[in-house]
Amino acid sequence: MSQPVLSITGLTVPLPYGADRANAIEGLSLSVGANEIVCVVGESGSGKSVTASAVMGLLPPALKPSAGEILLQGEDILKVAPARLRALRGSRMAMVFQEPMTALNPVLKVGEQIAEMLEAHAGRSGREARRSRVLDLLGDVHLPDPPSLAKAYPHQLSGGQRQRVMIAMALANDPALIIADEPTTALDVTTQAQILKLLKELQARRNAGILFITHDFGVVSQIADRVVVMQRGRLVEEGRADEVLTRPRDPYTRMLIAAVPSAEPPPARPRQQAAAPILAVRDLTKTYGGRGLFGGGRAVTALDGVSLALQPGETLGIVGESGSGKSTLARCVARFVDPSAGHIRIGGDDIALLPPRELRPYRRRVQMVFQDPYRSLNPRRKVGQSIIEGPMNYGLSKEAALARAARLLDLVNLEKGALDRYPHEFSGGQRQRIAIARALAMEPDVLIADEAVSALDVSVQRQVLELLEDIRERLNLSILFITHDLRVAARLCDRLVVMLGGRIVEEGPTAALFANPRHAYTQALFAAAPKLRLAAS
């Protein structure tokens, strides 16, 4: 192998005083060769993003590397002058940031933002030349109609499109190194697949090295040449992708890989068919906007005559394209938004159009677990207070509510002491378990989980999924489970509905649907899911 594009040796970045560990990264060494894709995986907070920022010279001021070197084609990033560093950024190395929603400047047209990259590195001087180059780039990343797209603002693009704009920007000056930090976390599998394909194509064409950060093993297995595994700031394992995935040596790697849910639905659970569904939705329609005194602008039909039924003890999965109305459905059922028309029966009563005042008795029976566990807990209230709030609203005494909360914490595998701590003192997985405990404290009939595990890394995700499996058995709970991760759906759900454009396009038992998808969109969805070659667990 010739000189690597990027070679990091012995890099250590200390954390500021008072953090949970001394160094964000410690003695890290890794390299990326030309025309090579190196995937970095590891738990949340293991230092992946800090590594990426260090390479770009974009560490936050609080973090200063204390040892090691970062060679970009032989030049030490940590030692070069700021002007030189600026010259290197964007021309020799470029980065695709994790969050396409926030990484683009909302007030500048995307074309301008790409052109700025060219401008900054003088190479292409003429305004016209730059313009045509921008259009070429937009075409390269398979964006439709580049001339009009270049004039769009970021908020006018879908998540996938923005992600591709970021990539186009990164490629603008043919950099030798591309760093991509979890570029697909927020995307549904179809869009994700497009982007991965694109990256691979481009890399091959331009002979660049790519450092790709992700926690999705499906993605790793699809594109990685080599894999680097990080834990608590250290590199614990490194090797060729197929080797690491199929024959992991480090225990941590093995644990991670074992946590990846399989795409095969487990055998259907034996359940007795109840006579009446606990939740029945019929012809539910929701139109946003359009009304209002001074006109709310465009009207969006987010739900268009959706019907479904949920049996006691059943877990119903909802999958579908981004923007297909999944969250809207969940929020209508929980009555956080008012449906425009239709029926929602809980037990026997139709609550679809009840005024808020009369909803209170039903609130207890339907509980929701939100996608973002941190934001769904009031940061200023102790965990205990959050859990007992609901039961006490319905007349339980404080002692009884606390006793129940303690029991539930035990159920979700947290010690009792957790009651007196604040949400920020917990990890993401723990918080999600607290949120589940809070929902369960209401002793609901139906639990709605909207993307409740999407933000978690695989090991934590696995804990939460296990917890849900356990609880639904013990409490005979009905669950409406919304996800874009087909593996997760396959693992947990008894039945699945597939949504597209506000309608249900297909529905059936999980195994049957996986085996034999009939609707074209369902087929596309399954096809897009990354295939995995993993170590047998």
């Binding site: 964007g90 980065m95 940031f97 990484a103 001074f294």
Partner: protein, 313 residues
């Protein structure tokens, strides 16, 4: 957009209605009697009562309000009780100096405060930041009239660079016009600069922490460009809001500044007519102020469109 405009303009009516009612009640409940003022020192109660009757001040408040409203709807603001001049004429005569002062103040304040705020945010936590903040807070701490006197003392009396007082219309030459506005503008803009600079600082500071700033840096563009092109435009909306909110503040400040520098503007007209209980003039001026306020707020909301393409109406 059209509907938004129509809606907003429609919403001004209730606002102005509220203002009209509040002001009317406040004035009529306040003690003091323009008739007694007109009648003079040696007037008998009968003479005062006769004047009250002639002015219609002996009618029930509701009747007075309705007749004022009726005339207003015909576009008639009435006449000053004291000087007998039409209110519209009085206001027209006074509007120019106030408008001139307000404009120079806003322009000057923005030109100074925004760069100061940006600098402070950029040098966040350093002495530059602290100096800018200290200066702007200090500016905020000196009563307007004290500052006015100090400026007059320094620039007009000691250095003899500028005139002490007065107003000259721009039609009589740019320098005569400007020279008389410089000190009042400085005086009035200090508070304003403090307010805008602080808002700009915190707003830019917030934006500097955003992901797209990191993206911009990752492109390898210079820091100046990061600051002006990427940060400032995103920080604009709160800054514009505070400029808008500050206009109410400006109107209050104008009152004092106009007296100190003897500018024949609306602020003085307002104070004079309040002190003389010249009801029709006060009502007219306040109505104008509230209309102005509504229009300015609308303009500000519209200007958001310029800075943030995500905002639509």
């Amino acid at each position: 957009m059209g509907r938004f405009l129509a809606g907003r303009l429609a919403a001004t009516l209730p606002v102005m209605g509220v203002v009209a009612v509040i002001v009317f009640l406040l004035l009529r409940l306040a003690p003091g009697d323009p008739a007694a003022i007109l009648a003079g020192d040696a007037a008998s109660p009968e003479q005062i009562a006769a004047i009250r009757a002639r002015l219609g001040l002996d009618q029930p408040i509701l009747t007075q309000f309705l007749s004022w409203l009726g005339r207003l709807l015909q576009g008639d603001l009435g006449s000053s009780i004291i000087s007998n001049q039409p209110v519209a004429k009085l206001i027209l005569e006074r509007i120019e100096p106030t408008l001139a002062l307000a404009t120079t103040t806003i322009v000057f304040a923005v030109l100074v405060a925004v760069p100061l705020g940006v600098l402070a945010a950029w040098w966040h936590g350093t002495w530059v930041d602290r100096a800018v903040m200290a200066v702007s807070v200090l500016g905020f701490s000196v009563p307007v009239f004290v500052l006015g006197y100090l400026l007059i003392f320094g620039f007009a009396m000691q250095l003899r660079l500028l005139p002490v007082q007065g107003y000259v219309s721009i039609t009589e030459g740019l320098w005569p016009f400007l020279s008389r506005l410089i000190l009042p503008t400085l005086t009035l803009s200090v508070i304003y600069i403090a307010l805008i600079a602080r808002t700009t600082r915190s707003s830019v500071l917030e934006v500097l922490g955003e992901d797209y700033i990191r993206t911009a840096r990752a492109k390898g563009i210079g820091e100046t460009q990061v600051l002006w092109r990427h940060a400032l435009r995103n920080a604009a909306v709160p800054v514009i809001s505070v400029i808008g909110l500050g206009i109410a503040l400006l109107i209050s400040g104008v009152v004092v500044t106009e007296s100190v520098f003897n500018l024949p503007g609306l602020g003085r007209l307002t104070v004079d007519s309040v002190l003389a209980r010249d009801y029709p003039v006060i009502q007219g001026v306040i109505l104008l102020f509230s209309a102005l306020y509504v229009v300015i707020n609308l303009a500000i909301d519209l200007s958001y469109l310029l800075f943030d393409p995500r905002i639509r109406y």
